[in-house]
Every structure is written in C-alpha cells, then in structure tokens.
C-alpha cells in the first residue's frame, strides 16, 4: 500500500534521504515541467555563446574600425584599402593561405603586397573537426609539438621562479615577466637558426630561453652572479649573447628596433657586398604596443621597406603599456595597418595560439629569407602579471584578465596535442617535471 508520506513530490522518500538536506528542498524545482520557463530566460542570453561554439561564423563582431579592439575579437583583420574589398561574405576557415599578386591601383601605386591571410583553424574548431574526421590535417608533428610545449612550459616556469626570487628579495631592480605571452616567443624563435638574430625589450627572459641560452645562465644574470651570461653587469633588462645571436634586450623600448634593422642590413650587406654564401640570416625585432607610438619604429619601418631588409617586426600587443591602455595612447590602434603604409605586409594574428603564430612566422621568416623584404606581424596577446613585479596592476579590468587567462597558450596547446593524439598526458607531465 502506498502512503503519501512515502513520496516527496512524486519521488520515493528512500531516494530523497540519500541526498544532503540542503538539496532536498530544491528538488521540486527540477521537475521537467517546472524547468521549461527557464529556457525562455536563458536562451536569449546564451544563444550567442552556443552558436559561436559551433558556427564561428556568427561570432564575428561588426567590422567597426573606429572602435579599435574589443578584447573579444579573434578574427584576422583584412587590409582596408577600398579597392581590395572584394569579400562579400566572411571567409570560412581554411588551412591554406595565399599570397595575392601585386595589384595596381592609382591610389596604391607602387604595387603593394598583401597577405590575404585566412588563418588556420583555431584549436577550438579543431576539436570539433577532429571528432568528425579520422585523419585531420595537422599543423605540427609530434616532435615539434612537444618541443613547442616544452619551450613554453620552460618559459612559464622560469618566470614564476623569477617572481618567487623577487619576493624573496634575492632579485633587485626591475623584473618584467612574460606570463601569457609565451606563444609569441615560442612560435617565432623556434623557427630560427642559430645565426638569426633577435632583439627585444625588457620583457624577454623567455625570448632568451627560446633562442637557446641556458636557463641557468639567465637566472644567474638576474641574480647578479658572475656566472651569468653577462657576468652580472647587465641584469634583467640587458641580456646579451653573441653565441646565440641574441643582440640584446634594451630598456628603452624603441631602441632595439634600429638595432635589429641594422643586423638585417648587415645580413644583406654580407650577402650582396661581401658575397658571403649562406647569408640568408633573418633578424627579428620584438617589441610591444607602446613602442608603436615611438618615432624610431616608423623610421625603421620606412628604411627596412625601402632597402628590403630581411627583418620581421613582431609586435607583442598586450594592450597595456604599464598602466596606459593601448586604446588611450594610439590614434589608430590597429598596428598591423601601419605596415602597408610603408609598403610591407601587415598581419594580425592571435598571439595566444602558438600554432597560428607559428604559421604566420613561417611565412614571414620565409619571405625575409627569400629577400622579399620586411613584414610587420602584430600578435594580439596579453600579460597575465603586471608590468613589472613592482606594479600594483590596478588599472586592468579583472574580466579582461580572466578572459585572456582562459586563452592561456600553454593549456591550449596541451589540449591540442592530446586531442590530436600527438602526445599523451604522460609525455606532457614528464616535460612539466623537467
């Protein structure tokens, strides 16, 4: 015989008693006919979220140049000379990119080369694709993937260790950390040979590590020891290495760009005047968004394009220069647009995705090696920590920080490697331990 006290709103009491008391009273709400009204509330708010996940098509924000960036933009930008606008629809993702032929137009003569860049699918889309395809078209091999992963993890671990040393008062002065931007360093520098040179600003312990300096040498330098790579004389902001052709990190942000341009000039000079063989050495200049307001940047863009120097200008646009937002400091925040103004391609890439950065880097470095001239690559990235370890970092919106933290390049690459069966958890854990 069934008594009413045996049931709790249609569910047997025996089942109810197993659940903690705090949840027992909310069970009536979970009856299906009670939940339907919620959909009317939730669907409009979450619909864009759901659709973007499966149809990245609808997520593209309106093409409003005047706003500059909203921090939610992921798409690759197009050059904006009106004659070039022949896209009537948004592009679908495509793993191939094509170089356009030079176009003649009275407004843009002499002809300018543009990258019509349709980036490789983001790793988020890959996840969907790999479920349907059996042999997906992968961008990297297992060995490369593990190398990239190791490089980024080394960089992150190194920076965290630096922070610890600083707070233990073993390290003095300025320490600028690179957490969150590892994809840019790894994506570019891992494609270079030893004779290629790089020049950076003060935020680049990780560039030094990617280029081949040993972590021990760099850490000793930061601690001021004589065993450091500069015998303790340079410090955190001035890491130099002749052997690895790291031509230095400069505390003045615009300063490194002419140096890198000069290195590219040397490379070209050696090839053409001194007729040395095998001198397709490329020079990379890394700098930030604040530097792009400095006069030296523009002077070097001009001369590099004029003399077709083998250099790649890499802008690590992390949207903040100490406490100054890039949007407050720049009249035209899209830095990649400044490339075509000087006659070189300007490419924007998602700097939180190491694979995308690597693809762009391959093309840009290849261009430079072939002698086609410079490229301006803008990597939209983010620094998780403050400007330096002494920076209270109050001006950045926590929502922005959280958003970019979710796009952490290391976790992203990890997911990619695992999902595409390039590596398994054990391999990655082994690298983490090292």
């Amino acid at each position: 015989k069934r008594f009413s006290s045996d049931l709790f709103f249609g569910v047997p009491k025996s089942l109810i008693n197993g659940i903690p008391k705090s949840f027992q009273c909310s069970l009536p709400l979970l009856r299906p006919h009670c939940l339907f009204p919620l959909f009317y509330i939730l669907l409009p708010t979450f619909s864009s979220f759901f659709t973007s996940h499966f149809l990245s098509f609808s997520f593209f924000p309106p093409h409003s140049e005047e706003n500059g960036y909203s921090f939610l933009t992921f798409q690759v930008r197009r050059p904006t000379i009106p004659s070039q606008h022949h896209f009537s629809k948004q592009p679908s993702y495509n793993p191939h990119y094509r170089l356009t032929l030079p176009r003649f137009h009275p407004q843009t003569h002499p002809p300018q080369f543009f990258f019509q860049f349709e980036s490789p699918p983001s790793i988020w889309d890959r996840r969907q694709e790999s479920k349907s395809k059996s042999t997906p078209n992968l961008l990297i091999t297992k060995k490369e993937g593990l190398e990239l992963y190791e490089d980024m993890v080394l960089g992150r671990a190194f920076e965290d260790k630096c922070a610890k040393m600083y707070y233990d008062r073993k390290m003095l002065g300025f320490v600028h950390l690179y957490n969150g931007q590892e994809a840019v360093s790894t994506g570019f520098i891992r494609l270079l040979k030893q004779q290629d040179s790089i020049v950076c600003t003060y935020r680049d312990h990780v560039q030094a590590l990617s280029k081949g300096l040993s972590a021990r040498a760099v850490m000793s330098e930061l601690l001021g020891k004589a065993t450091g790579c500069c015998r303790g004389q340079g410090g955190s902001m001035h890491i130099f290495s002749r052997k690895h052709n790291m031509l230095g990190r400069f505390a003045f942000i615009g300063e490194g760009i002419p140096i890198a341009t000069g290195a590219a000039f040397t490379s070209k000079y050696k090839r053409e005047v001194l007729k040395e063989a095998d001198c397709g050495h490329v020079s990379l200049a890394f700098f930030g968004d604040g530097t792009c307001n400095n006069g030296q940047f523009y002077e070097c863009l001009n001369m590099a394009a004029l003399w077709k120097l083998p250099i790649v200008f890499v802008v690590e646009n992390n949207l903040w220069a100490i406490g100054m937002s890039h949007l407050r400091a720049t009249s035209v925040p899209q830095i990649y647009k400044k490339g075509p103004a000087f006659g070189m391609p300007g490419v924007h890439v998602d700097g939180m995705d190491v694979l995308k950065v690597r693809e762009v880097a391959k093309e840009a470095i290849g261009r430079a090696r072939r002698g086609e001239g410079p490229t301006l690559v803008e990597c939209e990235t983010y620094r998780f920590r403050g400007h330096s370890l002494a920076d209270p970092d109050k001006l950045r919106d926590p929502a922005e920080k959280a958003h970019y933290a979710a796009r952490d390049p290391i976790t992203a690459l990890k997911k990619y490697l695992i999902e595409n069966s390039l590596a398994n958890e054990a391999d990655l854990k082994a690298i983490d331990k090292r």
Binding site: M171, L172, G173, F174, E221, G224, K225, A226, C230, G232, Q233, G234, G235, S236, M237, H238, F250, A251, F252, I253, G254, G290, T291, N293, N294, G295, A321, I322, G323, M324, R328, A329, T330, L395
Partner: protein, 367 residues
C-alpha cells in the same frame, strides 16, 4: 580598576603611535615630517591651482597616479585636460611641451627617468634652451622638465645615469637638484614660476625619505631662490659640496669625521646651473680644503666644474688639492655588490676628507 588598566594601555598605545600622529599639531615642539614625494605632490598641486596655465604631461602621470606616485590625486583634481597621459614618445611630447611653452602655457613635462630624456634631448637643448637667445629674448620658454635622475637600486646601466653635468653645461637652461622636502617644494615652485626652461633632477631613492619641515615651508607661496646653495652644516676644517642624494651621505660622513676631530662644512648645492660660486668660494676661503661629491661619471662632471671655479677664484686659499668623489667611470653594473662599488659611499667621502686634511697618505704617494 579595569579603568586604570585601560588608561595605562591607552597611554602606551598613544606613545606607540605618537610618531604617526605628529602631523597633528598637538605637540608644539615636534616639527611636521614630510616625504619628498608629498612635497613634490603638494608643490605641483598648489602651482596648478594657482595658475591655470600650468599643466602636467608625461607617461603614467594620470590614471596610474604617477610612475613613482608623485602626481597622485592630480588627475582627479584637475581632470584629463591638465594632467595628460602621453604615449611612449619622449621626443614627441617634450617637443609638444616646448611648443606649448612658446605659445603661452606653462608645461611641466615628466620623464619617467632622466635616462629617457636622452630621446628628447634635442628638444630640451635645441628648442627650449637656445631659443631665448636665438630669438633675442622674444621667445621665453617657461617649461619644467622633471623626473628622477641618477642611480636607483639594481636597475642596470640604462636606468642609472646622472644627467646633472650634461644639462648643466648648456647655457639657457637652469638645472636644479633638491635634496630635502623643503628643497623639493621650494625649488619646484620656483621652477614652475620661472620664465626659463628648468631641468629639475629628483632622485628616486629620496622620494620615500621624510624630512622635518617648518610652517613656512608649508605655506603655498613658499619659494626658494634659484642659484643659491644652502650650507647644511657649518664647519671650519673642510668643505664638502654635494647635491641630491649625496648630501645625505655627506652629512653622515661629517658626523663620522666629527668624532675624529675634523669639522666638515657641508654645502647642498641645490642649483647646478647657475652654480652658486660665491657660496662655495666663501666656504673654501674659510676652510681651505674642498671635496666635491657627486653620483655621476667623473669626467667633465659637476665636481670638475667646481674644482675649476675654485682654482680660478680662490687658488691662494687652497691648502690641499681638491678631492673629487664621483661615480665609477663605468656604465652602472647590475649586480648589487658591483653597484655599491660604482656609487660613492660614506666611507669614500670620509677617506677623501682625511686625505684632504693630510691625515692619511696623500694620493700621489699611494699611486
């Protein structure tokens, strides 16, 4: 009984917090303490409120409240039109400041450190300093370039140079370098009111140090004359001239020397250009020995200029060669122990004073 215990505890806690509440004028004998940072902030605040033509321009002066928090609160008070956050273009905004000064405003341009002023030095020297002369007095440039100068702690070669001698060699500029809060307040106010370009060299390590200030200093019309040095400590055996942070070191050295029987006179230069030659020479004529102390590189430094000036005017009064203490002739190293060796320390000043007083072996014999 409990009441008595409570009173005792209250009394003890009052004693503990007495230094902190000394800003309240409840104790007539205690002078107010003011940090150099507060002094500069209050000076800027008062000058900006007194004259609407004064505006502040520099990197991170607004929303970030100043890279070293000197301009804290100014953005809220005066708004973004008068406290301007600039992009990272020293050459650009220094030039814009000079242009604004040509045309009638009174800009205060902040460099995050004076090392970055090298990117803008063309405008400081060529546009600002020389224009009054080149235009035969038509163009007056009432601009102030300010910022920290000299070595901080462990910041490496490119952030630690002292620019006093570089700017002081240029006619048309006025170069000021305060030490205490009183100096900072008075000289900054004088600089802002001055119709000529002024380079105001502060020191990052002094920002947090507090000094006693009298009520006269706190008055909003307080102003120190440009071109007058201050004798911080009177003495009769040896004269030590210094500016900025080295004044503190010189005072400490004077205390050590006093125990050894040498009475040192310490002069705080305050103004590097125009140099107060009369005060220095009067002091040398009294003591007959001179030591110049500075943080910058030794060659062509401030000490060299003072030495030459004294040799020209008071040669007969010198009883010993002039001793120059300066930073090491090397770009500032990063490692802490090397940095300590590259910057003058109190022991160096004491040793030099003793050499000048022939208490130790003279330099020629030691070499």
């Amino acid at each position: 009984m409990l009441g008595i215990v409570r009173q005792k505890m209250l009394g003890q806690s009052l004693l503990k917090i007495r230094p902190a509440i000394s800003v309240l004028r409840s104790y007539s004998s205690a002078a107010k303490q003011m940090t150099v940072r507060e002094a500069l902030n209050s000076a800027l605040d008062e000058e900006m409120s007194a004259d609407p033509k004064v505006f502040l321009m520099g990197e991170e002066v607004g929303e970030y409240q100043g890279a070293y928090k000197i301009s804290k609160g100014l953005l809220e008070k005066y708004g973004p039109e008068r406290v301007l956050d600039t992009p990272i273009t020293e050459a650009g905004f220094a030039g814009i400041g000079v242009g604004a000064a040509y045309y009638g405003l009174k800009p205060v341009v902040e460099f995050m450190t004076f090392n970055f002023s090298m990117q803008a030095i063309d405008h400081i020297i060529n546009s600002a300093a020389k224009s009054n002369y080149m235009s035969a007095g038509q163009m007056s440039v009432p601009i102030v370039f300010r910022g920290p100068n000299g070595a901080a702690a462990g910041v490496g070669a490119q952030h630690s140079q002292c620019y006093a001698s570089w700017y002081a060699s240029c006619p048309g500029l006025k170069v000021l370098s305060p030490y205490s809060s009183e100096d900072a307040r008075g000289l900054l106010k004088a600089a802002i009111r001055d119709p000529d370009p002024v380079v105001f060299l502060e020191n990052e390590l002094l920002y947090g140090e507090s000094f006693p200030v009298s009520d006269e200093v706190l008055d909003s019309s307080f102003c120190l004359p440009i071109g007058k040095a201050k004798i911080e400590r009177k003495g009769k055996d040896v004269t030590i001239t210094a500016f900025s942070k080295m004044v503190g070191y010189a005072l400490k050295a004077a205390e050590i020397l006093e125990k050894e029987g040498i009475d040192a006179e310490v002069i705080n230069l305050r103004s590097i250009r125009p140099l107060d030659r009369s005060t220095i020479n009067a002091s040398v004529r009294k003591t007959n020995r001179l030591i110049t102390v500075e943080e910058g590189f030794p060659q062509h430094g401030v000490g060299a200029e003072i030495c030459a000036s004294v040799v020209e005017e008071s040669f007969a009064y010198l009883d010993a060669p002039v001793e120059r203490i300066a930073g090491a002739d090397v770009p500032m190293p990063y490692a802490a122990n090397l940095e300590r060796m590259a910057v003058p320390q109190v022991e160096d000043i004491v040793r030099a004073a003793k050499r000048a007083c022939y208490r130790a072996v003279p330099l020629a014999a030691a070499a």
